[in-house]
C-alpha cells in the first residue's frame, strides 16, 4: 500500500435556489425580527475615504431577460488599495469601509445596486499593479456554482491598458464585458455594469 495524501475534497456546490433571500437577505423577503439588518447592505460608514459611487446593473440570462431572483456579492479594496481583511498584510484598511457588499436583484426590475466607493489599485502576484476593480460573485436559481467576475472602470483607460488580468483576455472583443461605464444614477456618480450569463456579449467569468 502506498502512502495517502490525506487531503479532503471541497464540498461540492449546489445552486442557491429561488429562496436564497430567506438565508442571505431575510429582511428583503419580509422575514423580520430575526436579524436587525441584512448582511452586506451597508458598505460605507461616516468618514469613509474615497469617492462615493453607486454600482448598479442587471444579471441577464441567455434569453435576454434580467434575473429577478439573483444574489450579487461584491468584494473590493478601499480607496488606498487595501482590503479590510485579516489576510491583508500590507497595511490597515480604512475602518469606515467594509469592502464587502451583498444585494439581491430587484424582484420587479432585476436591478442590483451598491452604495460604495471607488477602490484603489492593488498588485498582481508579480507586483505589477492591476487596474481598480470590484470582484463579483453571482448566485441564483439555475446557477450550479457561484460565478466569479470583475468590474473595471471605464474612466480608467490608462490603468486598464496596463492591467495584467485584463491583458489575459485572449479574445479582445470580450474585454468590454468587464468594464463598467460611468453614468449618472439618481443624480449621483455611478457605474452601470450588466452581467450577461450566456450568448452574445457573454461576460468573462474567472476560474480562480
Amino acid at each position: 500500500m502506498v502512502q495517502a495524501l490525506n487531503q479532503l475534497r471541497e464540498s461540492p456546490s449546489q445552486t442557491a435556489g429561488p429562496y436564497v433571500h430567506i438565508g442571505c437577505t431575510p429582511n428583503f423577503c419580509d422575514i423580520h425580527g430575526v436579524y436587525p439588518t441584512d448582511l452586506g447592505v451597508t458598505m460605507v460608514s461616516p468618514g469613509v475615504k474615497g469617492e462615493p459611487i453607486i454600482v448598479t446593473g442587471r444579471v441577464i440570462d441567455g434569453g435576454g431577460f434580467p434575473l429577478r431572483d439573483a444574489l450579487v456579492e461584491i468584494w473590493q479594496a478601499d480607496a488606498a488599495g487595501l482590503y479590510n481583511s485579516p489576510m491583508e498584510r500590507r497595511g490597515n484598511a480604512d475602518p469606515a469601509f467594509a469592502g464587502f457588499g451583498r444585494q439581491p436583484t430587484d424582484g420587479a426590475t432585476g436591478e442590483y445596486r451598491f452604495d460604495t466607493i471607488k477602490p484603489g489599485r492593488v498588485p498582481f502576484v508579480d507586483g505589477r499593479m492591476m487596474a481598480p476593480h470590484v470582484t463579483f460573485w453571482i448566485v441564483a436559481r439555475g446557477i450550479n456554482i457561484g460565478l466569479h467576475t470583475r468590474m473595471y472602470f471605464g474612466d480608467e483607460a490608462t490603468a486598464n491598458a496596463q492591467c495584467p488580468v485584463l491583458a489575459r483576455v485572449e479574445h479582445r472583443e470580450r474585454v468590454p464585458t468587464l468594464i463598467a461605464q460611468r453614468a449618472d444614477v439618481d443624480g449621483r456618480t455611478g457605474y452601470r455594469f450588466d452581467i450577461r450569463l450566456q450568448g452574445e456579449g457573454e461576460t468573462v467569468f474567472f476560474d480562480i
Binding site: G63, M130, N144
Partner: protein
Amino acid sequence: MADNGSFYQRVGGWHPPPLTPDYKTSVLRSPQRAKLSLENTISEMTGPVFGHSMIGELDDDLIRNYATTGDPIGPRMIVHGRVMDENGRGVPGALVEVWQANAGGRYRHKKEGYIAALDPNFGGCGRTIAGDDGSYVFRTIKPGPYPWPNGVNDWRPAHIHFSVFGTAFAQRLITQMYFEGDPMIWQCPIVRAIPDKAAIEQLVALLDRNNSIHMDTLAYKFDIILRGRRSTMFENRKEGN
C-alpha cells in the same frame, strides 16, 4: 501572505458543471465560454471576516428565532459539524448561514407555490460563526420534501441550504445538506447535476445518535469542506502578496 500559497484549484468532474439540462433553469443561466483561468491575486485571497459580535443570541436556533406562540411543528434536531479546509484544518471564524423549508416542505417566501401550510412559528433562517476548531452547531426542525416546477412531477429531497465564508473570497461556497437514507436524493435533478457519487455523498449528513438528546432533539453531523491552500515551501516572489 508570505507564509501561504494559492488555493488548490477546483477540478472538473467534482462540482456540477454550469449546464445540466435536467435542471431546466440552468439552460439559459449557464455560461458557454470557457472561464478565464486566473492565479489567485490578493483580490481573491482576502475576504470579509465577520465577528462573533454580529451574531444574535438566537441566530443559531431556528426553533426559537422566529417563534411567537410556541415552538414550530416538526422533528427537532441539532445539526453540527466542522468547517474545515482541504488540509483538514478547522476554519475558525467561518460564517455559516442556513435556510430551509418548514416541516411540511413550505418556504416562507412570496415566490413559493406549494400548498403546504406555513408554520407561524418558523422563519427558516439561521447563522453562526465557527469556533476555534471550526466547529458549528444549529438547532432546528427537520425540513420536509417539496414539489418544484421542473419536471411535471419533480420533488426535492429534504435539505438545508448552507452559505459559507472562509478567510478568502476564493473559498466562497453555497451548497445543500441532505439526510442519510432519503431515496429522493438520487432522483433529484439538482443533486444529479453533481457528476461524482462520492461528491454527492459528501453532502449527505449522518444521523448522529451519540449527540442526540433523549426526549428532546435528534442530531445530524455535517462537515463542510472549503478549498485548502498550498504551503509555501519555497518563497520566490519578489512581492509580499
